[in-house]
């Protein structure tokens, strides 16, 4: 089986940043933009939900958990489709494709962020919370100044893992024709037709480099934490 | 090299002997053990006779746990040789080593029961999986042993349903199921709440009377005093004193042994000023 890499050469910049010159970022650039934006939003929402579940417990926590299972119980594609049709109704106008995908990804991932954050908080010794409360701190302050700083080293690897999933999940924008890396690769493949292996292997490699570097960072952050322990 | 092969063959022959209940003697000759640069056991010579009950005590870091872990090769010696029934064991590997281990029982500080199995299955597992016994007979023997340690009615309980003392007694039954000639204890009562220590010590006392060779690393001075034939005091990887319990507790010879006993028996009076 012969590989002809000229197709890569001809389309490389398109794969990297799409039609940036026309004001439409695409390819790897758009992948990164979407992953980062969705990540920030997911982090905000997820930590907020975790804080609520931690603070109020009982029914609040149950409802949040049911909400999280609902979100994660349907395929991400469906979440994208739902938002694709619902958001224009809610906002009364059409929403740019990338925005829809970012919101869908953020919504979907926030459930996982909530679970990871809660797990990290609950892994801390109960005594930490008790000590904070005993010295007169409000719950919010205990969370902000006592618990989250201590949970952070444990949470970082989980968050990086979720970021890796986010980067991979941006590929679903393929289904709604938002021109991130996978969509753009599909377009090139449709146009050129005869070099699918080269195109998809390269695209796979690009994702691999992105994700594996994040995984490496996560591994290092775990090791650093263990090193500090002893 | 020829000698080694011969001795290996001889040793496995000894340990595949069908009379598994034969008690064995253990001998250390110039044994040393290092973990990296850290020498934990230093030129130890020791003989434990068949049927003898020996207590090993000493401060933290003295190497006493490592000493018995060398016998069943949970750790391997750095130099020297350990003889079991006058057969060298250092070069045993693979199936021969596993054979050796079936003739040595080991009881851990943390019990280490198999969490997914009932007490009965914990005790019978090795018979079934390692010795090929059929399940019914293995279970019968397991139940008999559990009864012997006072837990006949707990055979179907899981470890997490048992107290620490009960778990340790199951662990002892498990160690006995293959009729070993030697049984080793690594601080068997250190992880137990005080009121449960007695039930384990009673089982160990009964075991001591049965004639099996026992080596017990322990802080429990009552065991050393009342059950052991001999007490060995270790510090810094060396055996500093060996004596009969009476002599050791009333008239320790080595200064470090004296200091150790002072701290252990009279914790509120660490400086000698109170006569032992």
């Amino acid at each position: 089986m012969e590989f002809d890499w000229s197709v890569i050469h001809d389309n490389f910049t398109y794969l990297l940043w799409g039609r940036l010159a026309d004001g439409e970022p695409g390819g790897v650039l758009l992948t990164l933009i979407m992953a980062a934006s969705a990540g920030v939003l997911a982090l905000l929402f997820g930590v907020l939900m975790a804080a609520l579940a931690w603070r109020f417990g009982g029914w609040t926590r149950k409802i949040l958990f049911i909400w999280a299972s609902f979100i994660r119980g349907i395929p991400l594609i469906f979440v994208i489709f739902w938002l694709y049709f619902l958001l224009p109704v809610v906002f009364g106008g059409s929403i740019p494709g990338p925005m829809t995908v970012i919101l869908a990804l953020a919504w979907f991932t926030s459930a996982a962020v909530m679970h990871s954050t809660l797990a990290g908080l609950e892994a801390l010794p109960r005594g930490q919370t008790e000590a904070g409360i005993a010295s007169g701190m409000s719950d919010g302050k205990v969370l902000l100044f006592v618990l989250l700083p201590q949970a952070w080293p444990n949470l970082l690897p989980s968050y990086l893992g979720l970021l890796i999933s986010l980067v991979k999940d941006t590929s679903l924008a393929f289904i709604v024709n938002v021109p991130e890396l996978t969509t753009v690769a599909g377009q090139v493949n449709n146009r050129v037709q005869i070099y699918p292996a080269e195109i998809f292997l390269l695209v796979g490699l690009m994702y691999y480099l992105l994700c594996a570097s994040l995984a490496y960072l996560a591994g290092k952050s775990i090791k650093r934490r263990q090193g500090l322990r002893t | 090299m020829q000698q080694d092969t011969l001795s290996t063959a001889a040793t496995s022959a000894v340990f595949s002997h069908s009379s598994a209940g034969k008690t064995a003697a253990v001998e250390f000759r110039q044994v040393s053990k290092s973990f990296g640069p850290h020498e934990v056991i230093r030129n130890v010579d020791l003989r434990v006779d068949s049927g003898e009950v020996v207590a090993v005590c000493g401060p933290s870091g003295s190497g006493k746990s490592t000493l018995i872990r060398l016998i069943n090769q949970l750790e391997s010696v750095s130099s020297g040789e350990i003889y079991i029934d006058n057969q060298p064991t250092r070069n045993l590997k693979g199936a021969a080593l596993r054979q050796l281990r079936t003739h040595i029982g080991f009881v851990f500080q943390q019990f280490n029961l198999y969490a997914h199995l009932t007490a009965e299955d914990n005790v019978s597992l090795a018979l079934i999986k390692v010795h090929g016994w059929n399940k019914t007979q293995a279970r019968e023997k397991a139940r008999a042993l559990l009864t012997r340690v006072g837990l006949g009615d707990k055979a179907q309980h899981y470890p997490e349903q048992l107290s620490g003392g009960q778990q340790q007694r199951v662990a002892i039954a498990r160690a006995l199921v293959t009729d070993p000639g030697i049984i080793l204890f690594d601080e068997p009562t250190s992880a137990l709440d005080p009121e449960m220590i007695g039930e384990v010590l009673l089982v160990m006392q009964e075991l001591a009377k049965s004639g099996i060779t026992m080596i017990v690393v322990t802080h429990e001075m009552s065991f050393a005093r009342e059950i052991a034939d001999r007490v060995i005091f270790m510090d810094g990887g060396e055996i500093l004193e060996q004596a009969q319990p009476e002599d050791f507790f009333l008239r320790p010879q080595h200064p470090r042994a004296q200091r150790f006993l002072q701290k252990v028996l009279f914790p509120l009076h660490p400086q000698s000023g109170v006569a032992l």
Partner: protein, 257 residues
């Protein structure tokens, strides 16, 4: 707002046929994919336990590649690139109509789309399952390994009788999660034209613009399938023994080294 949901528009006639067909397709490809994934996982674990560095390295490479690339890209690769590399006679054979090669409900499985979807899903999921089982193995207290070695267990018996049963119990929840993921990720095969549930729901949207109703039904079906499969795996999977409150061990006071 004068709009009302028109359920009849999706729950009768052609749309209903599509929904049923899509649902069954999703079900079958999930089952086949799961079986393949399980076999692969066992193979990978066996390789990982071997003494050959090459074997262990191969498993590490496999896991790394398949976990760090998007499933969609993998599916596109299998369908557009790898499938074309199969011998032509095979491809012609698969491309033909084979009435015998159908699952109940008239779902054909000897098609490029089904095979690539099942294969792609299996490889992707196996890479994750291997790590879950490994995590389960790592969570068994090391003391039990020492106890077993002290009793003369071989490494193989130790693994099969003591470590693996407990690993599966400990990791059963995340393992179940991976299989459920496989089911949900089957929706990505839409991208290679595989007519599973998501594809059929989009069909309905093109057919009579009943997007809301179509997606609602699809959502409910995925949720239901997930709940049922999850329940089945919990009911028939290894369980922790029922217990009273746990015994608390004192802190280990380890003497010697």
């Amino acid at each position: 707002m004068n709009w009302h949901p028109d359920w009849a528009g999706v729950l009768t006639g052609q749309p209903l046929q599509w929904i049923i067909s899509g649902f069954l397709t999703t079900l079958y490809v999930s089952i086949v994919g799961s079986l393949l994934a399980t076999l692969l996982t066992v193979l990978l674990l066996a390789l990982r336990m071997s003494s050959s560095r090459l074997a262990r390295g191969a498993v590490a490479a496999f896991v790394s590649v398949f976990r760090n690339t998007p499933l969609l890209v993998q599916l596109l690769f299998w369908y557009f690139a790898a499938y074309g590399a199969l011998p032509q006679s095979w491809r012609f054979y698969i491309g033909d109509n084979h009435p015998w090669a159908t699952f109940p409900g008239n779902i054909a499985w000897l098609t490029p789309e089904f095979l690539c979807a099942a294969w792609g899903l299996a490889l992707f999921t196996a890479a994750f399952l291997v790590e879950e089982v490994q995590a389960g193995l790592n969570s068994v207290p090391k003391g039990q390994t020492e106890a077993a070695i002290s009793q003369g267990f071989s490494r193989k018996t130790l693994l099969l009788s003591i470590l693996l049963p407990q690993a599966l119990i400990n990791a059963w929840q995340p393992i179940t999660g991976q299989y459920l993921n496989l089911m949900k990720l089957s929706s990505l095969a839409t991208g290679i034209g595989f007519s599973e549930l998501t594809y059929q729901v989009s069909q309905i949207e093109s057919y009579n613009a009943h997007a809301f109703e179509g997606f609602a039904v699809g959502t409910l079906l995925y949720l239901a399938l997930g709940l049922i499969l999850g329940w089945l795996m919990t009911a028939f999977g290894p369980k922790r023994p029922q217990h009273r409150p746990q015994v608390v061990l004192k802190e280990e006071t380890r003497d010697g080294v």
